[in-house]
């Protein structure tokens, strides 16, 4: 485990990038996904079709293809994201939010949004028909039906599938490492190259941190689900 301890600063920076990718892409995909879900259940036919097409295309494309497109493809049409270049110096090393990072965040956002949209839609669909019918029957207008009856229940039903999507996102950030962001996977790969003798220890250290991150998140989601559960 000496190798791991000696390189703790590099590992720390790696996981900082991982978490930044996760948080920014997580928020971004939540916004885009909600928009897509709203388009999907709304009354405008064109938007409904557009959302369906988006979701089924993106869901069936490997994440790597999307990241390759954002990372290597878009610069070919002069979309380079080079205006983003933030370097945060820390004692452990620099946290770099540059064009590669931005491209990967956008790619992860676009990819995850499709899954978020499906999760939210399934939440809305999980609210029994009778609820909306009853709300209408007692004379609530559309806004009231949504605000007072449907959305509070849909929101709760959305927590478990949304948590699954975001846990997948934590793991998917590693793909960004394969196209050049210096996050956990990328750090691990260069470490296994440099210290060929202690590959297994390095792998176990990284794997355990990932297991830890995933377990924390899934524990939090589970608590939230419990707390908000109705009846």
């Amino acid at each position: 485990m000496d190798v791991v301890w000696e390189n703790r600063e590099a590992i720390l920076i790696g996981f900082t990038h991982t978490i930044l990718l996760f948080v920014i892409a997580g928020i971004g995909s939540l916004l885009l996904g909600t928009l897509l879900a709203a388009m999907r259940v709304g009354p405008i036919g064109v938007l409904r079709v557009a959302a369906v097409i988006y979701v089924s295309l993106v869901r069936n494309t490997p994440l790597l293809m999307i990241l390759l497109l954002f990372r290597f493809g878009l610069p070919k049409v002069d979309i380079k994201f080079s205006f983003v270049d933030v370097v945060i110096p820390t004692t452990a090393g620099d946290i770099r939010l540059n064009n590669i990072f931005t491209a990967c965040v956008l790619g992860l956002t676009v990819y995850t949004a499709a899954f978020v949209a499906e999760a939210i839609r399934s939440g809305i669909n999980a609210v029994p028909l009778g609820q909306a019918e009853a709300a209408r029957a007692i004379g609530l207008p559309f806004g009231g039906v949504m605000r007072e009856v449907i959305l509070p229940q849909a929101f709760r039903a959305t927590v478990p599938p949304l948590a699954s999507v975001q846990i997948a996102l934590i793991k998917n950030t590693t793909v960004a490492g394969a196209v050049g962001v210096v996050e956990a996977f990328n750090v691990m790969r260069s470490m296994t190259n440099n210290y060929a003798g202690s590959r297994i220890e390095i792998f176990i250290a990284f794997a355990i941190i990932f297991v830890f991150l995933v377990e924390i998140y899934s524990f939090a989601a589970h608590r939230l689900e419990r707390r908000w559960r109705i009846a």
């Binding site: 290597f72 599938p161 999507v165 590959r199």
Partner: protein
């Protein structure tokens, strides 16, 4: 006419408003598409030589034989091994013996939470690196087996638990032994419930074969990489990615379609929530309300 309860059937005023929104939406979407096409055209992305590979027989052969076929081989090998892995550890998690249950649980929890890429790189560097293309191929397959197997273990467990209790009790009442109950009563019924989940997991495995990129494994992604790295094609990364993505989409849509068909034919409404199983929720069986 749609039957959503979320909003009323529009009256004349709302219908008129919806028409305006429809026109606006079409304009916005068409605008986005037009900008994208203008961008691509302005940067010579429609150049003949960039798209030529996808109509020339040599490349098409590469894409179909070295690409699609290899990818499918990888996915099928991974899923077969994952099913075996899943059955062993899924049943192990249900065992009455702590000595079996606990390691199975640890195995499943661990591989479910570790990103596939990490496992892939480990297997590749520890074992596959001296073995050329076969090494890379099996590194991908083994990594996918571990991850998908762990997810499937949860699916199997949920499937076995979804078999009505009365079935098991009846079997015991008839004097069957534990193994008999599992093999003759629980598993056959569980398989039926989890068949669609199994096929959906194949979509995940198929998509994840593309991660072989990181270890230079054969397959569609590798063919794509060779194509856009070849100087003769004028750095045609955008066309290549679009074509490759289209191939993946077609393969996955076919699989999804099979899954839906199987679901309708054999299972009905009951289904297992793959995403929940992958994320580490224990209640992976969902019944629609």
């Amino acid at each position: 006419m749609n039957n959503s309860v979320l909003f009323d059937t529009p009256g004349p005023k709302a219908a008129a408003r919806h028409r305006i929104y429809t026109v606006l939406a079409i304009l916005v979407l068409a605008g986005i598409l037009a900008i994208a096409i203008a961008r691509l055209a302005g940067n010579d992305q429609f150049e003949g030589r960039k798209w030529e590979p996808f109509v020339s027989p040599v490349y098409i052969e590469d894409f179909l034989i070295d690409g699609v076929l290899e990818t499918l081989k990888m996915a099928v090998a991974a899923i077969i091994l994952a099913v075996i892995f899943g059955v062993v550890f899924g049943v192990g998690k249900l065992s009455e013996h702590r000595a079996l249950r606990w390691p199975s649980w640890a195995m499943v929890e661990f591989w479910r939470a570790v990103p596939v890429l990490l496992a892939m790189v480990l297997v590749f560097y520890a074992w596959g690196i001296d073995r050329g293309d076969t090494g890379a191929f099996w590194s991908v397959v083994i990594a996918l087996m571990l991850y998908n197997g762990a997810v499937l273990a949860e699916v199997f467990r949920a499937g076995i638990n979804a078999v009505p209790k009365g079935q098991v009790e009846a079997a015991y009442a008839l004097g069957m032994r534990k193994t008999q109950v599992m093999l003759q009563i629980q598993l056959p019924q569980a398989v039926k419930i989890m068949l669609p989940a199994l096929i959906s997991q194949m979509v995940v495995a198929l998509k994840d074969t593309s991660l072989g990129y990181a270890v230079a494994a054969p397959g569609l992604t590798n063919v794509a990489k060779l194509t856009y790295n070849s100087p003769a094609n004028g750095q045609n990364i955008i066309p290549t990615v679009l074509v490759t993505a289209a191939l993946y989409i077609v393969m996955n849509l076919i699989l999804t379609w099979i899954a839906t068909w199987v679901q309708k034919k054999f299972v009905g409404e009951k289904k297992i929530d793959i995403a929940a199983a992958a994320a580490g929720k224990d209640d992976a069986t969902t019944n629609p309300l």
